[in-house]
Point group: C2
Chain length 337, copies 2
DNA sequence: CCTGATCTTGGGAGCGCTCCCACTGGAAGC
DNA sequence: GCTTCCAGTGGGAGCGCTCCCAAGATCAGG
């Protein structure tokens, strides 16, 4: 058995006693609220130092009805979705913004039924001061949970088919359009799309951008070749594309992972990139730089996405009503197109 | 201003009243503890359902002195360390194990001074039931914090220069040795090492494994060419290596990111891989599969690492004293060596 | 010197839950 | 028939904090 040190933490009452003041005064001094004389304030500070007092966050949470934590919920059918480096960057951004507001970050991967149930419980029990919700799919069970929740919810990316009150998104349509326009501007005329899951808003929006651009250029869009945002699915989609449309000379992939997969298929099929086929990705993750050839891709400000989500959530928690935010993308030209 | 729905949650007292029992009985029924008659148990369940009652986790935490949360703390000088997909996989594993124990996951990136201060506060205020601590460097300020903490701490990877009571690590020495032995077995005689930060135990251990293998084969190890586990640092290290030891015919990189960087440098230097130089990585992340040529690398069970850390922590929290764990690695042969 | 306004102060009532404990009544043991 | 035991029950005292409020202290203005 582990020997648990049973020494109890000092409480606010003990601090107060030691400082020769009442609990109320000690509490006020601690939260540097007004109505505390300089002398007592200092006495409290001294007692805190001597006793090594640290306030008990749980007790404070119970009294104030604020947990001091914000949750980041990532939906998905299986946990592997979270392995996408995308989320790590979101977390970096969110974490820094929450740090400023002195909130803790709870991370919930709502992949299993059990996980979803726990998220539901979290919502209903108000186990956090607010929630950032990402990666919702069409008919996602979490959508309803968020709906009925009496808790601030900020969406990362819009859910399919509805526009929530608070969200931060990236200009998916614009980014995809720009990427496709670029392919067209380089003289590509048979441009295909390897799109992401079409039960996600990002997947749909990026296909829409691709489609818009081709139509505007008087070219014919190909039907969506659907992947699931993973490298293997991109490789597979590229293989199908090559089989059905051997004359394709440009590919817009809805993210870098799938673009990397496409590159792999093209390599083994002996097609030169970008000479025979140009490839553009989306995200601008590390994989885009490491790929061979380095990927021309649509950069999206992922860390900023996380940061802004957290900031927006903090604003809502503090009683404000911020306006939704759509972050810009920009095309990063490398070698693949 | 956001309109906050002020409807209060039902409390246990209300459930008890509705069910016609005392608060004690209701509590026992809820936690399905013994000493509750079947009739009352059902009455309570009914009341819970009718009222839509959900227990208040904060109040429970205060009463039981258990927060119901475990923290994963990732140390580091700047947040970018967390962008490594490695941590995402650790989280997937930890999350699933914590889910089983019905604990929430708090994520703390202790990159800034502010972040470290908050972690310290977390430790001192017992803001979590236990902590998983990763990526400690030599003289890491968090080491002291963890030391004085009266809280279960499980380390992910050993810290430099000390062996904590509870940790889960990967067989870094063995993995590096196997990788290097493989290079030697393929006839490579001038094998260099691009090692990770030598102020981390993983960085040191992997270099040690490399060194051991060469010495055992009667070959001369080269001095460590230090990187920081990032792709650019691997590229830079490879460039230095090429300049100082033009005759190198094999490289062991301490992780896949750096191996990918090395590949990039070799490509632009016109060296063929593996014909001229063989390259082996470590981690077996997605990048290893996507790299060109696909990386031969040392696979480490990262998700299992996270899972076992969480399980170990749960064991400690429950008063047990589990023994440290060292997870095996295995060489995955692809094309680069 | 008195009145009212303002600042300090501490008592006490929660926040919503767990858990100890004293009490009941019926089954079991002698 | 009488203890003995124990499942079942509810009262009450916390857990450690915040915050309302009444009361005392201080100070200005008239």
């Amino acid at each position: 058995m582990a020997d648990v040190a049973p020494r109890r933490q000092p409480t606010l009452d003990e601090v107060a006693e030691r400082a020769g003041v009442s609990r109320s005064v000690a509490s006020r001094a601690l939260n540097n609220a007004p109505h505390v004389s300089r002398a007592k304030r200092e006495a409290v500070e001294r007692a805190v130092r001597q006793l090594g007092y640290v306030p008990n966050p749980t007790a404070r949470a119970l009294a104030t009805r604020q947990t001091g934590a914000a949750a980041l919920v990532v939906s998905g059918e299986d946990p592997s979705i979270f392995a996408d480096p995308f989320y790590a960057q979101v977390i970096v951004g969110a974490s820094s913004a929450l740090e400023e507001a002195d909130l803790h970050l709870m991370l919930c991967l709502a992949a299993s039924d059990r996980g979803r149930k726990r998220v539901r419980e979290l919502f209903r029990s108000k186990g956090a001061d607010g929630v950032m919700l990402m990666a919702l799919r069409e008919d996602d069970p979490l959508a309803a949970v968020a709906e009925e929740a009496e808790m601030p919810v900020v969406f990362g990316g819009r859910p399919v088919g509805s526009t929530p009150r608070w969200y931060v998104d990236v200009d998916n349509v614009g980014g995809a359009r720009e990427a496709t326009e670029y392919l067209v501007s380089r003289g590509r005329t048979r441009v295909a799309a390897i799109c992401g899951r079409l039960d996600t808003e990002a997947g749909r929006a990026r296909y829409r951008g691709y489609r818009d651009a081709l139509l505007a250029a008087g070219l014919e869009p190909l039907p969506p070749q659907e992947g699931d945002f993973t490298e293997p699915s991109g490789a597979a989609a590229m293989a199908v594309l090559l089989a059905h449309h051997p004359d394709v000379d440009g590919v817009f992939a809805a993210n870098d992972n799938m673009a990397a997969g496409a590159l792999r298929t093209l390599r083994s099929a002996g097609r030169a990139v970008p000479a025979d086929i140009a490839v553009v990705g989306f995200d601008d993750l590390t994989v885009a730089q490491v790929a061979d050839p380095p990927l021309t891709t649509v950069h999206q400000p992922i860390t900023a996405l996380g940061r802004e989500m957290a900031r927006m959530l903090v604003a809502v928690v503090n009683g404000h009503d911020p306006t939704p935010l759509i972050l810009p993308t920009r095309l990063v030209v490398r070698t693949s197109a």
